[in-house]
């Protein structure tokens, strides 16, 4: 990196699009600023007091036309910019369906990363190039923000809630990760690195790690040890939803609304099962608030996902 860096690297699929918009805005606003500066300087010289340039009132018609002219020109220019920026934003909205999923738990003042196979990292995120990566993120304390400038992504992470972001890296290398929402004493120490590797390199890196057990496997163990299996078993003694094939499905709730079964919904059901249960079920499940932590909820979610998603009929 040069001594005077001016632009961040373009290391994700978003970067060229954001930069195109950025450079256009630099050009447009540079032109407007230049126009204003040049006009001020020219008028200041030409119409300095006592100069011989002609004076006199403007015909009202002309001033009126000027006024309308630049108002509409500005309005149209800004609307065009909005249209372009807005369509870019929609493009960034949803991760591709096949995205690889990485869990991020933010806490004061570190990043805890967990790969689908259970490999864990702190303040480091290894990922393969050219692969869409979906980040499933939550915070254990205050609001943090996941920012990788070279990817042009940033997302606030709220406590007690799941938020998503995604990227597809286009360059191999190490990129800085920052927390960009002020989170207390060591806020400026809450930094890390995103390491983008070629696919074979990533595969061998992953294989060399010592996973703390497969995430879904941990989830299955918890499912039994916490006693979930006692009710959520097909044909069991208690009327409770079967979880197979549930993930990703829209289910009717007792208040008539529908909910999408995703990580956030599962978390809600585990922590606060009494309110608004799925249609046809009594609110008899106990709350696991205080008994499970965020990591365990992630494991349970991974297990429920591993049971298959939105294929079989809702039982």
């Amino acid at each position: 990196m040069s001594a005077f860096p001016i632009f961040p690297r373009e290391a994700s699929s978003f970067a060229p699009k954001t930069d195109a918009l950025y450079f256009t805005l630099v050009a447009v606003s540079g032109a407007i600023a230049l126009l204003v500066f040049v006009l001020i300087v020219v008028f200041a010289v030409r119409y300095r007091r006592g100069s011989s340039s002609p004076r006199g009132a403007l015909p009202p018609l002309i001033s009126h036309e000027f006024e309308i002219g630049w108002t509409t020109a500005t309005l149209f220019a800004f609307l065009m910019l909005f249209w372009w920026a807005g369509s870019n934003q929609i493009y960034q909205l949803l991760p591709p369906a096949q995205a690889m999923e990485i869990h991020v738990v933010a806490k004061q003042w570190m990043w805890k990363i967990e790969h689908p196979n259970g490999v864990r990292e702190i303040n480091m995120l290894h990922a393969p190039i050219d692969e869409p990566i979906r980040l499933d993120m939550t915070s254990q304390d205050v609001i943090h923000s996941f920012s990788v400038p070279d990817f042009r992504i940033k997302q606030d992470i709220l406590p007690g809630r799941y938020v998503e972001s995604w990227f597809r890296a286009t360059k191999i290398g190490t990129f800085r990760l920052y927390c960009t929402q002020f989170c207390g004493t060591a806020h400026s120490g809450m930094v890390g690195s995103v390491v983008i590797m070629s696919k074979p390199d990533f595969a061998s890196w992953l294989a060399a790690q010592h996973p703390a057990g497969d995430l879904a496997g941990q989830g299955r163990a918890l499912f039994t040890s916490l006693g979930c299996a006692g009710c959520h078993t097909p044909g069991g003694p208690i009327h409770a939803p079967d979880l197979a094939g549930l993930y990703g499905r829209k289910v009717p709730l007792s208040n008539g609304a529908f909910a999408l079964v995703d990580a956030a919904y599962i978390r809600d059901r585990i922590l606060d099962p009494q309110s608004n249960p799925p249609a046809g079920y009594d609110p008899i499940m106990p709350s696991f608030k205080g008994e499970v932590d965020d990591g365990q909820i992630l494991a349970l979610t991974a297990y429920i996902r591993s049971l298959g998603s939105s294929r079989g009929a809702l039982r």
Partner: protein
């Protein structure tokens, strides 16, 4: 400038002026006649003193910030100290410097003068506003002394409510108290504008400064209470454990952000609208031109004030609000830029065919137009969602709002301070020093803050006291610029203080300017006008024929004053 001290006495010859005295003359009450003053001009001076004190407290914090950021390793301050310092800088500068900056000083001093009134509508309430602001400021400073506050000026929960181990509650209460002072000021100014205009001063004969103060006051009345209740809920959590924003118990921390920015975005317009008014007064006077498109300027002010209430969500593009909300707020943020652009074009067009001179107020005002243009245009970047995702929470945002609020509002304050200095103090200031300070301020400001745009797009987060070494060159440049900027801010403190005692006495109208405030003596008598003025002409009625730079008594004005 020649020393033409012949006072323009509109009402009576010289003897009457002496009899009327000036608002500065002692009434034999010593200090208490100032601390219990109800004259709007004296209250304006009280505000000016308080604001200057807060400016230097906040400026000292800024100095520490720039010192710390010279090195990427943060050796100068510890992390907690740095967090306290930038929080102090933010709270003091936003609520105790920028918000009262122009409304409470020039607004107080000039609003009654410009509309031909003897005082504001509620003089005692006006004094109460000053005390509320002062008490609020003392609370914040006390919170800082007793261990500090480390939340940043934005007080985001749950950090501010459940996690910070600092004096959040005291600081928040201070801001709420000052907020009621702001509301009282707003009520006073709106009532004054409605009820106390002189005969002939119709709405569309009001100077644009009065229009901007009027619009600002409405924003103060309607936005500040939302801040007060929001911060009160934070205080309720800290003091009594009422978890309104607690995400873990079913509340929503984003609700705080919505409410906070519903105030804090319009608050930007509280800072910048009066600045626009000051600049319009100055540019028309020194270009000796009617303002280009007066009616459009009025509508632009009102449009900014109204649309400004609908754009708060652009502070929250990455907060997790819905994409639809992002698009709506992005759209509205582009729209609110249009009236600002109109104003810039109209100031520029006002110069066309003028008879321009470049006294210090004009230099500051032209500097304002330049810096505000850059600040406004970078606002377009922040209104574009994909770019905002990249630069929000970084130094780009820091640079943007410093361009608008410091490059904009503070430059305009200095333009107004020099423009009305003869009227306020009755003394002329040393012109060449002032011109030098104006130019220095413009370059020092760009030197300090332009590098931060680059840092921001590179991704350097704000509120970091350590940072990656590749950002160091730009930070050193910024800190070096801050030295120049600090010098440019200290110079007026020196030469204006000097001018208070040794400046040449000022005539009633040293700039040969229009506007009712120039019809009365410098400094004005206690009740502003010896006779109520009657207005018969539109504002900014400058003509080529009275382009003389020499101040002169204009019989036409005397005749009007008698009317």
């Amino acid at each position: 400038m020649t020393d033409a001290v012949v006072p323009i006495d509109h009402a009576e010859p010289r003897a009457a002026r002496v009899a009327a005295g000036s608002y500065l003359d002692s009434e034999g009450g010593g200090l208490s006649e100032w601390l219990l003053a109800t004259d709007h001009k004296r209250i304006a001076l009280l505000y000016a003193l308080m604001i200057t004190a807060f400016f230097f407290i906040g400026g000292a914090a800024a100095t520490l910030i720039r010192l710390e950021l010279i090195s990427p390793h943060g050796h100068f301050l510890t992390d907690d100290e740095y967090n306290h310092v930038f929080t102090l800088h933010g709270i003091i500068m936003v609520w105790f410097f920028l918000v009262p900056l122009i409304p409470a000083t020039f607004g107080n001093f000039l609003l009654p003068l410009m509309i031909g009134a003897p005082d504001v509508a509620f003089p005692k309430l006006n004094l109460a506003s000053w005390y509320l602001t002062l008490i609020g400021g003392i609370c914040v400073l006390a919170a800082m002394m007793l261990g500090g506050v480390d939340t940043g000026w934005t007080f985001y929960p749950p950090y501010s409510t459940a996690f910070s181990n600092s004096n959040v509650a005291v600081a928040v209460v201070g801001v709420i108290i000052a907020g009621f002072g702001t509301i009282a000021t707003g009520v006073n100014f709106v009532a004054t504008t409605h009820m106390l205009r002189a005969p002939g001063m119709t709405w569309f004969r009001m100077p644009l400064f009065v229009w901007t103060i009027y619009a600002t006051s409405l924003v103060m009345i309607l936005a500040t209470p939302v801040l007060a209740i929001t911060l009160a809920l934070v205080a309720a959590d800290r003091l009594f454990g009422l978890p309104v924003f607690d995400g873990f118990r079913g509340g929503d921390p984003l609700l705080f952000q919505h409410l906070f920015w519903f105030y804090s975005h319009p608050a930007v317009y509280i800072m910048i609208l009066p600045a626009m008014g000051v600049v319009t007064e100055v540019i028309t006077c020194f270009a000796r031109r009617r303002v280009f498109g007066y009616a459009m300027m009025v509508y632009a002010v009102l449009a900014i004030a109204i649309i400004g209430f609908t754009v708060w969500g652009h502070h929250m593009f990455v907060s997790g609000q819905s994409v639809f909300a992002n698009l709506v707020f992005s759209f509205l943020s582009f729209i609110v830029a249009v009236p600002s652009a109109i104003k810039v074009f109209n100031w520029t067009a006002t110069l066309y065919r003028g008879q321009i001179t470049f006294e210090a107020p004009m230099l500051y005002a032209l500097g304002f137009v330049g810096l505000f243009t850059i600040g406004g245009l970078t606002g377009l970047f922040l209104a574009s969602v994909p770019i905002d995702i990249q630069v929000t929470g970084t130094y780009f945002v820091v640079a943007h709002f410093h361009y608008v609020m410091v490059g904009g509002a503070v430059s305009a304050y200095f333009a107004g301070l020099h423009f009305w200095w003869p009227k306020i103090t009755g003394r002329l200031y040393p012109e060449s020093w002032a011109r030098f300070a104006a130019v220095l301020m413009f370059f020092g400001f760009n030197f300090t803050f332009f590098p931060q745009f680059i840092l921001g797009y590179l991704g350097m987060p704000r509120r970091y006291h350590e940072y990656p070494p590749e950002f160091q060159p730009w930070n050193i440049m910024s800190s070096a610029g801050a030295v120049v900027l600090a010098a440019a801010y200290l110079m007026p403190l020196g030469y204006l203080t000097w001018a208070c005692f040794y400046g040449k006495p000022a005539p009633a109208n040293p700039w040969n300017a229009k506007g009712l405030e120039w019809w009365t003596s410098s400094p004005p008598p206690k009740h502003n006008f010896l006779r109520t003025p009657v207005v018969t002409e539109d504002p900014y009625d400058y003509h080529d024929s009275d382009m003389s730079p020499e101040p002169q008594a204009r019989p036409v004005d005397v005749a009007r004053a008698h009317g």
